[in-house]
């Protein structure tokens, strides 16, 4: 494979952040820059995904941020924004309006590689989700030295135990569920809270365990709402006239009422988990899962239910202590991979170690909740109903 690089010992590497916000991204940027600095390398950050390289003219101070020791020393690790983000990061399909005022998608990947070369950047650290990894893998196949840091609110990236950003989202979700529980207690109603989790139910399950929810519905276990209603009737009593149901946005239900919108994996047909019959089209709609569960449970239980959607709220705010450590560790780990020439890899946290996993082992897979795994057993032993009786 032709490699774009330079033989100089004074290396220059870049760090970029893919689409999709998670709390505390600065921590990964800091970890990368500090570890590279220790090796005597220079680190630059690319603004707004890859836009800083592709469109430097848009930035009065340049599209690259040199991450000097002074800048890093004064960087707020609780913040997320030093590099910014772009809603789409795909140099192979860049949508733009051309000089003839026509909308078009163009492949700027060659241009991107040329610009990296011109900037004497010989490796790229990408803080990306699953889709971003596929795109960086494609760039790697074109010769770019790439190392990925897994970033996922839902913790659904395969081959790593914890993706960056998950713990912060989990903490926020737990805090919000506590508040909803108080509201439900006060109002004597059943709160149904939709949390992020299109393909994997980690956030719903772990947060549900933390607050000891009555019911948790996740994509991995198709829920039976009649059984859920029976369980709620047992738990919601005159002495405890309230309830809490946590629903992952991709939760699946048994016996979907015909013609009713189903809280199905959104973008189902694009998911590695979908079967050919998963859906007849692809959509993205936040709030559908909670609304459907409330709409159908309302017919089955006496108590009033109310839906709440946490959704994108979990993407903002300050990172937790775990994510701050993890971000620094992932950044430093990525630099280790670059130093070792382990390109085309993802840094994976496989406790207690950081490992470098080839990207093909991470893409096209989803890290789902094992139905016979420890978290499901914990939830069941706490009396949390997961939508149906598990053998």
């Amino acid at each position: 494979m032709k490699e774009i690089g330079h033989a100089s010992s004074q290396r220059r590497i870049a760090v970029m952040v893919g689409a999709g916000h998670v709390p505390g991204l600065n921590a990964v940027v800091m970890g990368t820059a500090l570890a590279a600095g220790k090796l005597g390398w220079e680190t630059v950050g690319i603004r707004d995904g890859l836009d800083g390289l592709l469109y430097p003219e848009r930035y009065p101070h340049g599209g690259l941020v040199t991450l000097t020791p002074e800048l890093i020393a004064n960087l707020d690790p609780n913040a997320a924004g030093i590099l910014g983000q772009a809603p789409r990061v795909d140099p192979f399909h860049v949508r733009r309006v051309n000089a003839a005022e026509m909308v078009e998608e163009v492949d700027l990947s060659d241009q991107l590689l040329e610009k990296l070369k011109a900037e004497k950047i010989d490796a790229l650290v990408g803080v990306v989700g699953g889709r971003g990894m596929s795109i960086l893998y494609k760039l790697h196949r074109k010769g770019l030295n790439v190392v990925c840091v897994p970033r996922s609110i839902e913790n659904d990236i395969a081959a790593t135990s914890v993706s960056f950003g998950f713990n912060s989202a989990l903490s926020f979700t737990i805090e919000m569920l506590d508040r909803v529980r108080e509201a439900a207690q006060s109002a004597r109603k059943i709160g149904v809270v939709e949390v992020l989790g299109e393909q994997a139910g980690w956030l719903a399950l772990q947060a549900g365990i933390a607050v000891c929810a009555d019911v948790v519905l996740i994509p991995e276990i198709s829920g039976d709402l009649a059984a859920v209603a029976t369980r709620l009737k047992d738990k919601v009593t005159a002495q405890r006239p309230w309830g809490l149901v946590v629903v992952a946005e991709g939760a699946t239900l048994l016996d979907q009422a015909k013609g009713e919108s189903k809280p199905n994996p959104l973008k189902a047909s694009l998911s590695p988990l979908a079967t050919g019959e998963a859906s007849d089209h692809v959509i993205r709609r936040s709030g559908q899962a909670a609304a459907t569960v409330v709409g159908r449970l309302q017919l089955l239980v006496a108590e009033e239910l109310f839906p709440l959607v946490l959704g994108p709220w979990a993407r903002g705010g300050a990172p937790t202590a775990v994510d701050r450590q993890l971000g620094m560790a992932y950044g430093a780990g990525a630099v280790r991979a670059v130093k070792a020439g382990n390109y085309g890899t993802m840094v994976a946290f496989v406790p207690p170690d950081l490992k470098f996993v080839p990207l093909p082992e991470a893409i096209n897979k989803v890290r789902t909740v094992p139905v016979d795994g420890g978290f499901v057993q914990i939830a069941t032993s706490l009396g949390i109903f997961l939508g149906r009786e598990l053998s």
Partner: protein, 324 residues
């Protein structure tokens, strides 16, 4: 090369040739869909027509799976582009669209069950016209003919002009469907060979047009006005795809009427109530449909807006030509 699509050598990129169409101009018609569009309407029902080149599609229902086939899991297909997920309920192939989009026609032909296909193929004008001419007797009896649609048929102006002129040479009536977001030179090249031009007025206010389609409508409106004035013998029919929450309101309809009514060769204004027929195609292309929350307009709303049009055109009875 005029336009973003290479039509040198007398070929163009054709998405589909659809016979017996009744809503694409007068009479029974054959509609030739050309590939490539210069707008990105969020409600688009023909996403397979947008790209400027043939593109991959995947019909999971046709895939026979890894055990029986597995052809796309090996070279020359790109590594990781096709895969069978761990623990999947069946062994059908899934597509990583980011890695698979470079697959070309030669690769697609290696898929034995035909689950992989290309949307769009190169054809010569004569190849298209020979197909169109098969229904010439229907055109004569119904007053129909050939309609060029898209995508945006004016993005292949040389090819479109060749098709339309060729149709006229064969005695076939011609129409085009266009949103006209192209340089005037494209319009000027094609319209001498057109009998009827169906043209979209999607949104009136430039900022809203940009929000929903990707670009403003200043050039589009300038093209329409110039076309009305430059080609007095062409019948122009204005159309609006009617989408509640986007443009299904009296303000838009009245603004379009104010624009077209001074021009006597704009003979009608049709409403096209929004439908979701094209959603399945997004799945075939691995794309996400962004307008899921939008509903089809109610019959009452359509009737109320149609009455405004009828009044402007001096029609007293109900008009039956709302295109369903």
């Amino acid at each position: 090369m005029s336009g973003p699509i290479d039509t040198s050598g007398g070929t163009g990129i054709v998405l589909n040739i659809q016979r017996y169409c009744s809503h694409d101009g007068p009479g029974t018609r054959t509609t030739v869909f050309l590939k490539g569009c210069s707008l990105r309407c969020k409600w688009c029902g023909n996403p397979e027509s947008i790209a400027f080149k043939p593109e991959l599609s995947y019909a999971a229902a046709k895939c026979v799976g890894r055990k029986e086939c597995g052809a796309c899991l090996k070279p020359p297909f790109p590594e990781g582009a096709f895969y069978v997920p761990d623990g999947a309920a069946d062994d059908k192939v899934k597509v990583n669209w980011d890695l698979a989009m470079d697959c070309d026609e030669a690769m697609v032909s290696l898929c034995p069950p035909g689950a992989l296909e290309m949307f769009g193929k190169r054809m010569t004008a004569d190849e298209v016209l020979d197909e169109v001419e098969k229904d010439a007797s229907f055109y004569r009896s119904s007053g129909g003919g050939m309609t060029l649609s898209g995508g945006e048929c004016l993005l292949q102006p040389d090819f479109a002009a060749a098709l339309l002129k060729g149709a006229h040479d064969r005695g076939i009536n011609t129409a085009i469907e266009t949103a006209c977001n192209v340089p005037w030179a494209h319009v000027e090249k094609v319209l001498p060979h057109v009998d009827t031009m169906l043209h979209d007025h999607k949104l009136t206010i430039p900022e809203r047009h940009k929000k929903w389609t990707g670009v403003g409508n200043e050039r589009i409106l300038a093209n329409y006005k110039k076309a009305y004035e430059t080609f007095p013998d062409v019948d122009f029919i204005a159309r609006t795809p009617l989408i509640p929450g986007v443009n299904a309101d009296e303000e838009h309809i009245r603004a379009v009427l104010a624009f077209i009514r001074p021009h006597k060769n704009v003979i009608d204004y049709e409403l096209l109530p929004y439908h979701r027929f094209g959603l399945g195609k997004y799945e075939l292309l691995g794309e996400v449909y962004e307008l899921d929350d939008y509903k089809t307009p109610s019959d009452d709303l359509v009737a109320r807006l149609q009455a405004i049009i009828d009044e402007a055109f001096g029609r007293t009875g109900p008009k039956a030509a709302v295109v369903k």
